[in-house]
Amino acid sequence: MAGQDYTLTELMAVIAAREIKDGEIVFAGTGLPMLGVMLAQRTHAPNCCIIFEAGTAASQLAHLPMSVGDPRVMREAAIAAGLNEIFSYVLQAGRVDVGFLSGAQVDRFGNINSTSIGPDPRHPTVRFSGSGGACDIACLARRTIIIALHEKRRFPEKVDYVTSPGWLEGGDSRQKAGLTRGGPSAVVTTMGVLRFRPDTHATYLASYHPGLSPQALAEATGFPLDTEGAAETPAPTAQELRILREEVDPERIFLK
């Protein structure tokens, strides 16, 4: 970011870390979420623990994994098992406090598409990897945090395919669909942080990143963005940046 001593990736990792509370069980994928959990463990949340869907719980990561099945996630883990154990006994059983998700499109109710672009998923114009565990985390974690690139086409009124259900059509539609818990609590984007109104479950702009304005975010969003009460995102502290750079990702695997 112009005139600042940190990068956008560093800012987003710091925001992700601040979303995690001490003692929480966190379901994380590769990339930014891992940076966030490792930073949280080294700052305000030393007792949060990280779950990887490929089969480990409470890894004490010494090197950043490039996959949730990476041998690096075995480092001093509490258990090593498989997907069935993690999904059934940890996630479905309700033991995951917060899960991180990302995708190509996010709508105003926090529904995410990571399957394909185009009106007919049988004949997509662009195909992605697919859900992986994302749909399961979206359905079964106690809350989710979404990481997204903030561009107008990536924030449409409606996503082309609901890979991971958020608040669906808002209000109580998530509960009516049979989902008894969870739902997105924040969308951490390259431009700001969106949260959800408690009654309608529609997004609103909670904060815009330093150097940006609420108008700039509204213009980069494909649905009318509620910007009332938005404030500037607090910048990373010198200590957060030092830990990120020196302890969390000294190899610069994900930090830019």
Partner: protein, 321 residues
Amino acid sequence: MTNKLIDLHAVAALVPNGATLSFGGFTTQRHPMAFVYELVRLKRRDLYLFGHSPGGDWDILIGAGCVKRVELAYEADEAFNTVGPRWRQAVERGEIEWEDYSNFSMVSRFAAGAMGIPFMPIRSLLGSDLLRKQALTDEQRAADPRTSPKKLHCMTSPFNPQDQVVLVPAIHTDFAVLHVQKATVNGTVRIEGQTFADVQQALCANTVIVTAEEIVEEEALRHEPERNLIPFFAVKYICHVPFGSHPYAVYNYYDYDPLQLKEYHENADGDATFQGYLEKYVYGVKDHREYLVRVGGQARLDQLRAAPGYGYNPELKRRRL
């Protein structure tokens, strides 16, 4: 005690065109790559693949024209590339049939098959398009017994009318192929580290083929039975294939190979460059030993070896290659 050892080429040749298969591993770990390369060299066609999160094992088979239909949750080499390039192109060009599930639903499908029950209830998928939409038509499903006649079924718990679940259909494949750390000639198998869904995949298959880094004495594994997850009587064939998962990682043995993965992803997007990759590393070598020489031989493999106390190589250069 039965000697189940068999040559890799001979066992791969047992897979007919049109067979249903699943491979062990997860994205960039423990795929039976040596076996996959054999299937490509054998030019197998119309394969039906079932998986949760495969990576380049599927991508290379799809790109080589071996695959007709897949049922999956994800296909990519995770942080090395966000989508498998040949998978993406095959879908966008209409060259493959597929059905989308989630990791939990696919693993539950394997588990149901392994337990001999017709389906498994789960609480996932509700509210999603994975539940509402299907990529395979009812006609395609009805016409082919290798695919479940129905993708999913929603039901209310018979014990509590407030409780909604989704039933996922069991999977039974002709073959499951795993790559593991240790096995005995008798078929006792030792998986070290994360097990992924290897156990469920093996136990829902008719024929289980295991390729292993090391063949060890039966007593060595029977000494700690609590660390063995698949009984020998469920395993039909054993192959000794050191570095059998390259370029993917095998915990306690070797790391993934970032240089090889980079070369794959730099070449897999273009049709001609992908063919070039296949010629160089698959068609152009006789077997896995020649492949390992082609990728750089002992010097390269030594750079990947896991360090004691880590299970991977903490010095591995993973960026700015």
